[in-house]
Amino acid sequence: MDLAQEAQPWQRRSGPLQRLRLTSLKYLAILRVSAANNLAYLPEIVFRTLFLIVLIYVIGQLWQTTFILHNSAILRGFTVNSMIWYLAAAETLATSLPALTRRIDQEVRSGELAYLLGRPCSYLFYNYAHYLGERLVRLTINGTVAALVALIYVGPPHFTWMGLAAWPLMVLLAISIEFLCYFGIGLLAFWTENTQSFSFIFSRLTLVLGGVLAPIEIFPQPLRTLAQILPFSSMLYGPARTLVQFETASFVGLVWQQVITLSVVSLLILGLYRLATRRVSINGG
Protein backbone atom coordinates (compact mmCIF):
# COMPACT_ATOMS: atom_id res chain seq x y z
CA MET A 1 0.00 0.00 0.00
CA ASP A 2 1.29 3.42 -0.89
CA LEU A 3 2.05 5.31 2.31
CA ALA A 4 1.55 8.63 0.58
CA GLN A 5 -1.91 7.55 -0.51
CA GLU A 6 -2.69 6.32 3.02
CA ALA A 7 -1.78 9.71 4.46
CA GLN A 8 -4.04 11.60 2.10
CA PRO A 9 -7.31 11.60 4.11
CA TRP A 10 -5.43 12.80 7.20
CA GLN A 11 -3.74 15.48 5.14
CA ARG A 12 -7.04 16.55 3.64
CA ARG A 13 -8.46 17.03 7.12
CA SER A 14 -5.45 18.79 8.59
CA GLY A 15 -4.60 20.86 5.50
CA PRO A 16 -7.27 23.50 5.97
CA LEU A 17 -6.74 23.46 9.73
CA GLN A 18 -3.03 23.93 9.29
CA ARG A 19 -3.67 26.75 6.83
CA LEU A 20 -6.11 28.33 9.26
CA ARG A 21 -3.55 28.09 12.05
CA LEU A 22 -0.84 29.63 9.89
CA THR A 23 -3.20 32.36 8.71
CA SER A 24 -4.21 33.11 12.29
CA LEU A 25 -0.56 33.28 13.31
CA LYS A 26 0.12 35.67 10.44
CA TYR A 27 -2.61 38.09 11.47
CA LEU A 28 -1.71 37.66 15.13
CA ALA A 29 1.82 38.75 14.25
CA ILE A 30 0.42 41.86 12.51
CA LEU A 31 -1.70 42.58 15.60
CA ARG A 32 1.36 42.21 17.86
CA VAL A 33 3.49 44.49 15.68
CA SER A 34 0.73 47.12 15.62
CA ALA A 35 0.34 46.96 19.42
CA ALA A 36 4.13 47.16 19.86
CA ASN A 37 4.28 50.18 17.52
CA ASN A 38 1.71 51.95 19.63
CA LEU A 39 3.38 51.03 22.88
CA ALA A 40 6.53 52.69 21.54
CA TYR A 41 4.64 56.00 21.62
CA LEU A 42 3.06 55.37 25.00
CA PRO A 43 3.63 58.89 26.45
CA GLU A 44 1.80 60.39 23.46
CA ILE A 45 -1.18 58.04 23.93
CA VAL A 46 -1.28 58.77 27.66
CA PHE A 47 -1.07 62.48 26.90
CA ARG A 48 -4.01 62.21 24.53
CA THR A 49 -6.20 61.00 27.39
CA LEU A 50 -6.36 64.63 28.55
CA PHE A 51 -9.38 65.14 26.30
CA LEU A 52 -11.02 62.02 27.74
CA ILE A 53 -10.61 63.47 31.24
CA VAL A 54 -12.15 66.77 30.08
CA LEU A 55 -15.08 64.92 28.47
CA ILE A 56 -15.84 62.82 31.54
CA TYR A 57 -15.54 65.87 33.78
CA VAL A 58 -17.78 68.13 31.65
CA ILE A 59 -20.51 65.58 30.91
CA GLY A 60 -20.26 64.25 34.46
CA GLN A 61 -20.80 67.77 35.84
CA LEU A 62 -23.87 68.18 33.62
CA TRP A 63 -25.40 64.98 34.97
CA GLN A 64 -24.43 65.66 38.57
CA THR A 65 -26.13 69.07 38.31
CA THR A 66 -29.18 67.41 36.74
CA PHE A 67 -29.44 64.90 39.60
CA ILE A 68 -29.09 67.66 42.21
CA LEU A 69 -31.69 69.92 40.56
CA HIS A 70 -34.21 67.11 40.25
CA ASN A 71 -33.54 66.10 43.82
CA SER A 72 -33.67 62.49 42.80
CA ALA A 73 -31.42 59.51 43.49
CA ILE A 74 -32.45 57.76 40.27
CA LEU A 75 -33.00 59.31 36.83
CA ARG A 76 -34.18 57.10 33.95
CA GLY A 77 -32.93 54.06 35.84
CA PHE A 78 -29.47 55.49 36.58
CA THR A 79 -27.96 56.56 39.90
CA VAL A 80 -25.18 59.20 39.90
CA ASN A 81 -22.66 56.40 40.39
CA SER A 82 -23.93 54.25 37.52
CA MET A 83 -24.32 57.30 35.26
CA ILE A 84 -20.69 58.39 35.74
CA TRP A 85 -19.41 54.83 35.28
CA TYR A 86 -21.63 54.48 32.20
CA LEU A 87 -20.12 57.69 30.76
CA ALA A 88 -16.60 56.51 31.59
CA ALA A 89 -17.21 53.18 29.77
CA ALA A 90 -18.88 54.79 26.74
CA GLU A 91 -16.22 57.49 26.42
CA THR A 92 -13.43 54.93 26.77
CA LEU A 93 -14.81 53.18 23.71
CA ALA A 94 -15.50 56.40 21.81
CA THR A 95 -12.08 57.99 22.36
CA SER A 96 -10.02 54.88 21.67
CA LEU A 97 -10.79 54.84 17.95
CA PRO A 98 -7.62 55.00 15.82
CA ALA A 99 -7.42 57.15 12.69
CA LEU A 100 -8.38 54.20 10.47
CA THR A 101 -10.27 56.10 7.77
CA ARG A 102 -7.38 58.53 7.28
CA ARG A 103 -4.94 55.65 6.78
CA ILE A 104 -7.15 53.82 4.27
CA ASP A 105 -7.85 57.12 2.48
CA GLN A 106 -4.11 57.87 2.20
CA GLU A 107 -3.30 54.34 1.01
CA VAL A 108 -5.93 54.65 -1.71
CA ARG A 109 -4.89 58.14 -2.80
CA SER A 110 -1.13 57.54 -2.70
CA GLY A 111 -1.44 54.28 -4.61
CA GLU A 112 0.17 52.36 -1.74
CA LEU A 113 -2.88 50.13 -1.79
CA ALA A 114 -1.65 48.51 -5.02
CA TYR A 115 1.49 47.28 -3.21
CA LEU A 116 -0.48 46.14 -0.17
CA LEU A 117 -2.85 44.11 -2.34
CA GLY A 118 0.10 42.14 -3.66
CA ARG A 119 1.07 40.90 -0.20
CA PRO A 120 0.26 37.33 0.81
CA CYS A 121 -2.56 38.43 3.08
CA SER A 122 -6.02 39.89 2.75
CA TYR A 123 -6.01 43.69 2.75
CA LEU A 124 -9.19 43.67 4.83
CA PHE A 125 -7.87 41.27 7.48
CA TYR A 126 -4.47 42.95 7.48
CA ASN A 127 -6.17 46.21 8.37
CA TYR A 128 -8.42 44.51 10.92
CA ALA A 129 -5.41 42.98 12.72
CA HIS A 130 -3.55 46.29 12.56
CA TYR A 131 -6.61 48.14 13.89
CA LEU A 132 -7.16 45.63 16.70
CA GLY A 133 -3.56 45.98 17.88
CA GLU A 134 -3.82 49.77 17.98
CA ARG A 135 -7.28 49.78 19.48
CA LEU A 136 -6.42 47.33 22.26
CA VAL A 137 -3.55 49.53 23.45
CA ARG A 138 -5.75 52.63 23.40
CA LEU A 139 -8.64 50.83 25.09
CA THR A 140 -6.41 49.65 27.89
CA ILE A 141 -4.89 53.06 28.54
CA ASN A 142 -8.12 55.04 28.11
CA GLY A 143 -10.00 52.50 30.23
CA THR A 144 -7.48 52.85 33.04
CA VAL A 145 -7.60 56.66 32.95
CA ALA A 146 -11.42 56.75 32.70
CA ALA A 147 -11.75 54.30 35.58
CA LEU A 148 -9.43 56.43 37.73
CA VAL A 149 -11.41 59.60 36.94
CA ALA A 150 -14.75 57.87 37.69
CA LEU A 151 -13.32 56.38 40.87
CA ILE A 152 -12.24 59.82 42.10
CA TYR A 153 -15.57 61.29 41.00
CA VAL A 154 -18.11 58.89 42.49
CA GLY A 155 -16.24 56.05 44.14
CA PRO A 156 -16.16 52.37 43.19
CA PRO A 157 -18.67 51.00 40.67
CA HIS A 158 -21.41 48.50 41.41
CA PHE A 159 -20.62 46.15 38.53
CA THR A 160 -21.73 42.54 38.64
CA TRP A 161 -19.30 39.77 37.73
CA MET A 162 -21.62 38.88 34.82
CA GLY A 163 -21.35 42.43 33.44
CA LEU A 164 -17.58 42.30 33.74
CA ALA A 165 -17.42 38.86 32.11
CA ALA A 166 -19.65 39.99 29.22
CA TRP A 167 -17.66 43.22 28.61
CA PRO A 168 -14.82 41.75 26.46
CA LEU A 169 -17.24 39.97 24.09
CA MET A 170 -19.47 43.04 23.72
CA VAL A 171 -16.46 45.29 23.14
CA LEU A 172 -14.92 42.94 20.56
CA LEU A 173 -18.16 42.85 18.59
CA ALA A 174 -18.63 46.62 18.95
CA ILE A 175 -15.14 47.52 17.77
CA SER A 176 -15.45 45.05 14.89
CA ILE A 177 -18.62 46.81 13.70
CA GLU A 178 -16.83 50.16 14.04
CA PHE A 179 -13.87 48.81 12.07
CA LEU A 180 -16.08 47.77 9.16
CA CYS A 181 -17.91 51.10 9.13
CA TYR A 182 -14.74 53.22 9.14
CA PHE A 183 -13.00 50.88 6.69
CA GLY A 184 -15.96 51.34 4.34
CA ILE A 185 -15.78 55.12 4.73
CA GLY A 186 -12.04 54.98 3.93
CA LEU A 187 -12.79 52.99 0.75
CA LEU A 188 -15.03 55.82 -0.42
CA ALA A 189 -11.73 57.54 -1.35
CA PHE A 190 -12.03 55.62 -4.63
CA TRP A 191 -15.02 57.74 -5.55
CA THR A 192 -14.90 60.96 -3.48
CA GLU A 193 -12.38 63.78 -3.01
CA ASN A 194 -12.53 63.76 0.78
CA THR A 195 -13.55 60.98 3.17
CA GLN A 196 -12.69 62.84 6.39
CA SER A 197 -16.03 64.65 6.34
CA PHE A 198 -17.93 61.35 6.22
CA SER A 199 -15.78 59.95 9.00
CA PHE A 200 -16.40 63.10 11.05
CA ILE A 201 -20.19 63.00 10.72
CA PHE A 202 -20.24 59.25 11.41
CA SER A 203 -18.28 59.80 14.63
CA ARG A 204 -20.67 62.60 15.64
CA LEU A 205 -23.70 60.40 14.94
CA THR A 206 -22.05 57.76 17.11
CA LEU A 207 -21.49 60.31 19.88
CA VAL A 208 -25.06 61.60 19.93
CA LEU A 209 -27.18 58.61 18.86
CA GLY A 210 -24.74 56.05 20.26
CA GLY A 211 -25.24 57.32 23.80
CA VAL A 212 -21.84 58.82 24.62
CA LEU A 213 -23.19 62.12 25.90
CA ALA A 214 -26.12 60.51 27.67
CA PRO A 215 -27.88 57.16 27.75
CA ILE A 216 -30.43 56.69 24.99
CA GLU A 217 -33.19 56.69 27.63
CA ILE A 218 -33.11 60.50 27.70
CA PHE A 219 -34.27 60.77 24.09
CA PRO A 220 -37.98 61.34 23.61
CA GLN A 221 -39.97 58.95 21.43
CA PRO A 222 -39.71 58.16 18.51
CA LEU A 223 -36.06 59.26 18.57
CA ARG A 224 -35.31 56.75 21.34
CA THR A 225 -36.59 53.80 19.31
CA LEU A 226 -34.73 55.04 16.24
CA ALA A 227 -31.48 55.35 18.23
CA GLN A 228 -31.93 51.82 19.60
CA ILE A 229 -32.49 50.33 16.15
CA LEU A 230 -29.54 52.09 14.49
CA PRO A 231 -26.11 50.36 14.70
CA PHE A 232 -24.62 53.22 16.76
CA SER A 233 -26.28 51.98 19.95
CA SER A 234 -24.72 48.52 19.58
CA MET A 235 -21.27 50.12 19.41
CA LEU A 236 -21.35 52.26 22.55
CA TYR A 237 -24.61 52.43 24.47
CA GLY A 238 -25.22 48.68 24.55
CA PRO A 239 -21.83 47.58 25.92
CA ALA A 240 -21.60 50.48 28.41
CA ARG A 241 -25.17 49.99 29.67
CA THR A 242 -24.74 46.22 30.04
CA LEU A 243 -21.52 46.74 31.98
CA VAL A 244 -23.11 49.02 34.58
CA GLN A 245 -26.55 47.37 34.71
CA PHE A 246 -26.33 43.76 33.62
CA GLU A 247 -29.58 42.06 32.65
CA THR A 248 -29.43 38.68 30.91
CA ALA A 249 -32.28 39.45 28.50
CA SER A 250 -30.83 42.79 27.34
CA PHE A 251 -27.35 41.23 27.07
CA VAL A 252 -28.63 38.45 24.80
CA GLY A 253 -30.60 41.03 22.80
CA LEU A 254 -27.50 43.18 22.44
CA VAL A 255 -25.31 40.30 21.26
CA TRP A 256 -27.95 39.36 18.68
CA GLN A 257 -28.13 42.96 17.53
CA GLN A 258 -24.35 43.12 17.28
CA VAL A 259 -24.10 39.84 15.35
CA ILE A 260 -26.84 40.85 12.91
CA THR A 261 -25.31 44.33 12.46
CA LEU A 262 -21.86 42.79 11.95
CA SER A 263 -23.21 40.35 9.34
CA VAL A 264 -25.12 42.99 7.40
CA VAL A 265 -22.27 45.52 7.52
CA SER A 266 -19.75 42.79 6.52
CA LEU A 267 -21.76 41.92 3.43
CA LEU A 268 -22.07 45.58 2.47
CA ILE A 269 -18.37 46.27 3.00
CA LEU A 270 -17.32 43.14 1.09
CA GLY A 271 -19.45 44.31 -1.83
CA LEU A 272 -17.92 47.78 -1.60
CA TYR A 273 -14.43 46.29 -1.32
CA ARG A 274 -14.92 44.21 -4.48
CA LEU A 275 -16.17 47.25 -6.34
CA ALA A 276 -13.25 49.32 -5.05
CA THR A 277 -10.52 46.80 -5.91
CA ARG A 278 -11.85 46.61 -9.48
CA ARG A 279 -10.92 50.27 -9.80
CA VAL A 280 -7.29 49.65 -8.85
CA SER A 281 -5.09 49.84 -11.90
CA ILE A 282 -1.46 48.86 -11.51
CA ASN A 283 0.97 50.35 -13.96
CA GLY A 284 4.50 49.05 -14.00
CA GLY A 285 7.27 51.23 -12.72
Binding site: F47, V54, Q61, I201, V208
Partner: protein
Protein backbone atom coordinates in the same frame (compact mmCIF):
# COMPACT_ATOMS: atom_id res chain seq x y z
CA UNK B 1 -2.98 109.28 8.42
CA UNK B 2 -0.12 106.88 7.79
CA UNK B 3 -1.51 104.44 10.34
CA UNK B 4 -4.96 104.55 8.77
CA UNK B 5 -3.40 103.81 5.40
CA UNK B 6 -1.38 100.94 6.88
CA UNK B 7 -4.50 99.55 8.53
CA UNK B 8 -6.37 99.78 5.23
CA UNK B 9 -3.49 98.02 3.51
CA UNK B 10 -3.57 95.20 6.08
CA UNK B 11 -7.31 94.79 5.60
CA UNK B 12 -6.83 94.63 1.81
CA UNK B 13 -4.06 92.07 2.32
CA UNK B 14 -6.34 89.96 4.52
CA UNK B 15 -9.19 90.33 2.04
CA UNK B 16 -6.99 89.16 -0.84
CA UNK B 17 -5.90 86.08 1.10
CA UNK B 18 -9.47 85.40 2.16
CA UNK B 19 -10.65 85.38 -1.47
CA UNK B 20 -7.66 83.34 -2.65
CA UNK B 21 -8.18 80.74 0.11
CA UNK B 22 -11.85 80.46 -0.72
CA UNK B 23 -11.11 80.03 -4.41
CA UNK B 24 -8.48 77.37 -3.62
CA UNK B 25 -10.92 75.49 -1.36
CA UNK B 26 -13.64 75.68 -4.01
CA UNK B 27 -11.34 74.09 -6.54
CA UNK B 28 -12.61 70.80 -5.09
CA UNK B 29 -16.20 71.94 -5.22
CA UNK B 30 -17.89 68.72 -4.11
CA UNK B 31 -15.56 68.27 -1.15
CA UNK B 32 -15.99 71.93 -0.22
CA UNK B 33 -19.78 71.73 -0.08
CA UNK B 34 -19.71 68.30 1.53
CA UNK B 35 -17.56 69.66 4.38
CA UNK B 36 -19.90 72.61 4.89
CA UNK B 37 -23.05 70.48 4.89
CA UNK B 38 -21.48 67.91 7.21
CA UNK B 39 -20.37 70.55 9.73
CA UNK B 40 -23.83 72.06 9.59
CA UNK B 41 -25.32 68.62 10.23
CA UNK B 42 -22.87 68.08 13.10
CA UNK B 43 -23.93 71.30 14.81
CA UNK B 44 -27.61 70.44 14.28
CA UNK B 45 -26.96 67.04 15.90
CA UNK B 46 -25.70 68.80 19.03
CA UNK B 47 -28.80 70.96 19.10
CA UNK B 48 -30.84 67.77 18.77
CA UNK B 49 -29.07 66.41 21.84
CA UNK B 50 -29.82 69.55 23.83
CA UNK B 51 -33.42 69.61 22.62
CA UNK B 52 -33.80 65.99 23.81
CA UNK B 53 -32.16 66.88 27.10
CA UNK B 54 -34.45 69.84 27.75
CA UNK B 55 -37.50 67.76 26.82
CA UNK B 56 -36.68 65.48 29.76
CA UNK B 57 -35.07 67.94 32.18
CA UNK B 58 -36.46 71.44 31.48
CA UNK B 59 -33.99 73.47 33.57
CA UNK B 60 -30.29 73.25 34.34
CA UNK B 61 -29.35 75.85 36.95
CA UNK B 62 -31.81 78.31 35.41
CA UNK B 63 -30.70 77.57 31.84
CA UNK B 64 -33.28 77.17 29.11
CA UNK B 65 -33.23 75.80 25.61
CA UNK B 66 -32.79 79.24 24.01
CA UNK B 67 -29.72 79.87 26.21
CA UNK B 68 -28.10 76.77 24.75
CA UNK B 69 -28.97 78.00 21.25
CA UNK B 70 -27.24 81.34 22.00
CA UNK B 71 -24.30 79.48 23.54
CA UNK B 72 -23.91 77.28 20.48
CA UNK B 73 -24.53 80.11 18.02
CA UNK B 74 -21.89 82.44 19.55
CA UNK B 75 -19.28 79.70 19.92
CA UNK B 76 -19.96 78.28 16.45
CA UNK B 77 -19.80 81.71 14.81
CA UNK B 78 -16.68 82.70 16.78
CA UNK B 79 -14.84 79.45 16.08
CA UNK B 80 -16.18 79.31 12.51
CA UNK B 81 -15.06 82.84 11.63
CA UNK B 82 -11.70 82.21 13.28
CA UNK B 83 -11.10 79.05 11.26
CA UNK B 84 -12.43 80.56 8.03
CA UNK B 85 -10.25 83.70 8.12
CA UNK B 86 -7.24 82.51 10.15
CA UNK B 87 -7.49 78.81 9.22
CA UNK B 88 -3.74 78.21 9.06
CA UNK B 89 -3.28 78.85 12.78
CA UNK B 90 -3.99 75.18 13.48
CA UNK B 91 -0.78 74.33 11.58
CA UNK B 92 1.36 76.83 13.49
CA UNK B 93 3.04 74.24 15.75
CA UNK B 94 3.85 72.00 12.76
CA UNK B 95 5.25 74.97 10.79
CA UNK B 96 7.52 75.92 13.69
CA UNK B 97 8.84 72.38 14.23
CA UNK B 98 9.40 71.67 10.54
CA UNK B 99 11.04 75.01 9.79
CA UNK B 100 8.03 76.01 7.71
CA UNK B 101 8.16 79.65 8.83
CA UNK B 102 11.06 80.28 6.43
CA UNK B 103 8.62 80.97 3.61
CA UNK B 104 7.01 83.76 5.63
CA UNK B 105 10.05 85.35 7.23
CA UNK B 106 11.34 86.76 3.97
CA UNK B 107 8.05 88.52 3.23
CA UNK B 108 7.46 92.19 4.05
CA UNK B 109 4.20 91.49 5.94
CA UNK B 110 3.81 90.83 9.66
CA UNK B 111 4.78 87.15 10.04
CA UNK B 112 2.15 86.00 12.55
CA UNK B 113 -0.74 87.52 10.61
CA UNK B 114 0.65 86.19 7.35
CA UNK B 115 0.95 82.64 8.73
CA UNK B 116 -2.55 82.69 10.22
CA UNK B 117 -4.41 83.97 7.17
CA UNK B 118 -2.65 81.82 4.59
CA UNK B 119 -5.09 78.94 4.96
CA UNK B 120 -8.75 78.26 5.55
CA UNK B 121 -10.89 75.44 6.83
CA UNK B 122 -13.89 74.99 4.49
CA UNK B 123 -15.92 73.23 7.18
CA UNK B 124 -15.81 76.48 9.20
CA UNK B 125 -18.44 77.87 6.83
CA UNK B 126 -20.77 75.16 8.06
CA UNK B 127 -20.34 76.55 11.59
CA UNK B 128 -20.99 80.09 10.33
CA UNK B 129 -24.15 79.09 8.46
CA UNK B 130 -25.39 77.09 11.44
CA UNK B 131 -24.77 79.93 13.88
CA UNK B 132 -26.52 82.57 11.76
CA UNK B 133 -29.40 80.24 10.93
CA UNK B 134 -29.94 78.99 14.50
CA UNK B 135 -29.73 82.49 15.99
CA UNK B 136 -32.15 84.03 13.49
CA UNK B 137 -34.63 81.11 13.51
CA UNK B 138 -34.79 80.46 17.27
CA UNK B 139 -34.16 83.95 18.68
CA UNK B 140 -35.67 86.19 15.98
CA UNK B 141 -33.35 89.08 16.91
CA UNK B 142 -33.86 92.76 16.13
CA UNK B 143 -31.20 94.59 14.05
CA UNK B 144 -29.38 95.92 17.14
CA UNK B 145 -29.29 92.51 18.81
CA UNK B 146 -28.08 90.90 15.58
CA UNK B 147 -25.32 93.52 15.28
CA UNK B 148 -24.27 92.86 18.88
CA UNK B 149 -24.28 89.11 18.22
CA UNK B 150 -22.00 89.55 15.20
CA UNK B 151 -19.69 91.92 17.08
CA UNK B 152 -19.37 89.56 20.05
CA UNK B 153 -18.78 86.59 17.75
CA UNK B 154 -15.95 88.51 16.01
CA UNK B 155 -14.40 89.23 19.39
CA UNK B 156 -14.80 85.55 20.37
CA UNK B 157 -13.09 84.58 17.08
CA UNK B 158 -10.07 86.75 17.92
CA UNK B 159 -9.88 85.29 21.44
CA UNK B 160 -10.07 81.78 19.97
CA UNK B 161 -7.31 82.50 17.44
CA UNK B 162 -5.09 84.18 20.05
CA UNK B 163 -5.47 81.12 22.26
CA UNK B 164 -4.41 78.84 19.40
CA UNK B 165 -1.43 81.11 18.67
CA UNK B 166 -0.35 80.81 22.31
CA UNK B 167 -0.67 77.00 22.18
CA UNK B 168 1.10 76.74 18.81
CA UNK B 169 3.92 79.11 19.87
CA UNK B 170 4.79 76.73 22.69
CA UNK B 171 6.50 74.72 19.93
CA UNK B 172 9.33 77.33 19.95
CA UNK B 173 10.13 76.32 23.52
CA UNK B 174 8.90 72.75 23.95
CA UNK B 175 9.31 71.18 20.51
CA UNK B 176 6.49 69.02 19.21
CA UNK B 177 3.31 70.35 20.81
CA UNK B 178 0.89 69.38 18.04
CA UNK B 179 -0.80 66.86 20.34
CA UNK B 180 -1.03 69.40 23.16
CA UNK B 181 -2.51 72.03 20.80
CA UNK B 182 -5.17 69.58 19.63
CA UNK B 183 -6.01 68.59 23.20
CA UNK B 184 -6.28 72.22 24.29
CA UNK B 185 -8.44 73.04 21.26
CA UNK B 186 -10.73 70.10 22.06
CA UNK B 187 -10.97 71.18 25.70
CA UNK B 188 -11.71 74.82 24.74
CA UNK B 189 -14.48 73.83 22.31
CA UNK B 190 -15.98 71.35 24.79
CA UNK B 191 -16.06 73.82 27.67
CA UNK B 192 -17.41 76.58 25.39
CA UNK B 193 -20.44 74.55 24.39
CA UNK B 194 -21.75 73.55 27.82
CA UNK B 195 -23.66 75.74 30.30
CA UNK B 196 -21.00 77.50 32.36
CA UNK B 197 -23.12 77.27 35.53
CA UNK B 198 -22.50 73.54 35.88
CA UNK B 199 -18.86 74.27 36.71
CA UNK B 200 -17.64 75.81 39.90
CA UNK B 201 -14.60 76.68 42.00
CA UNK B 202 -11.18 76.43 40.41
CA UNK B 203 -12.61 75.27 37.05
CA UNK B 204 -14.66 78.45 36.81
CA UNK B 205 -11.52 80.55 37.31
CA UNK B 206 -9.64 78.46 34.74
CA UNK B 207 -12.40 79.04 32.20
CA UNK B 208 -11.86 82.79 32.40
CA UNK B 209 -8.06 82.67 32.38
CA UNK B 210 -5.98 79.76 31.08
CA UNK B 211 -8.75 78.16 29.00
CA UNK B 212 -10.85 81.20 28.02
CA UNK B 213 -14.04 79.30 27.13
CA UNK B 214 -16.02 81.73 29.30
CA UNK B 215 -15.18 84.63 26.98
CA UNK B 216 -16.10 82.64 23.86
CA UNK B 217 -19.63 81.71 24.87
CA UNK B 218 -20.69 82.63 28.42
CA UNK B 219 -19.85 86.37 28.46
CA UNK B 220 -21.41 86.93 24.98
CA UNK B 221 -24.51 85.08 26.21
CA UNK B 222 -24.77 87.36 29.25
CA UNK B 223 -24.28 90.46 27.09
CA UNK B 224 -26.91 89.33 24.60
CA UNK B 225 -29.35 88.81 27.46
CA UNK B 226 -28.64 92.05 29.35
CA UNK B 227 -26.05 94.34 27.83
CA UNK B 228 -23.81 95.91 30.48
CA UNK B 229 -20.90 98.23 29.69
CA UNK B 230 -18.67 96.94 32.53
CA UNK B 231 -19.00 93.35 31.27
CA UNK B 232 -18.45 94.47 27.66
CA UNK B 233 -15.41 96.45 28.85
CA UNK B 234 -14.14 93.33 30.61
CA UNK B 235 -14.46 91.32 27.40
CA UNK B 236 -12.67 94.05 25.39
CA UNK B 237 -9.93 94.17 28.02
CA UNK B 238 -9.43 90.42 27.93
CA UNK B 239 -9.41 90.44 24.12
CA UNK B 240 -6.70 93.11 24.10
CA UNK B 241 -4.70 91.25 26.73
CA UNK B 242 -4.81 87.87 25.01
CA UNK B 243 -4.07 89.36 21.56
CA UNK B 244 -1.06 91.28 22.84
CA UNK B 245 0.01 88.26 24.89
CA UNK B 246 -0.21 85.96 21.85
CA UNK B 247 1.67 88.37 19.59
CA UNK B 248 4.35 88.97 22.26
CA UNK B 249 4.75 85.26 22.98
CA UNK B 250 5.10 84.52 19.25
CA UNK B 251 7.71 87.27 18.84
CA UNK B 252 9.62 85.96 21.86
CA UNK B 253 9.57 82.47 20.43
CA UNK B 254 10.58 83.65 16.98
CA UNK B 255 13.99 84.62 18.41
CA UNK B 256 14.54 80.92 19.16
CA UNK B 257 13.33 79.77 15.75
CA UNK B 258 15.74 77.66 13.76
CA UNK B 259 15.41 77.53 10.01
CA UNK B 260 14.69 74.16 8.48
CA UNK B 261 16.71 75.11 5.37
CA UNK B 262 13.75 73.81 3.43
CA UNK B 263 13.37 74.78 -0.16
CA UNK B 264 9.71 75.71 -0.05
CA UNK B 265 7.22 77.85 -1.81
CA UNK B 266 4.54 79.94 -0.18
CA UNK B 267 1.52 79.36 -2.37
Amino acid sequence: MGRVRAFGGTLRFMGSYFVANLQAAMEYRTAFWAQIVIMLANDCLWLLFWWSYFQQFPLVNGWQQTDVVILWATSALGIGLGNAVFGNVSKLAALIINGGLDAYLGMPRYVLLHVCISGTDPSAWGDVLFALGAYCVFLRPGPLNLFLFLLLACMAALIFISFLVLCGSLAFFLGNVEGLSQQMLGALVTFSTYPMNIFNGVVHILLFTILPAGFISFVPLQLLHHFAWPLFGGMCGFLLLIMLGAAGFFQLGLKRYESGNLLGMQN
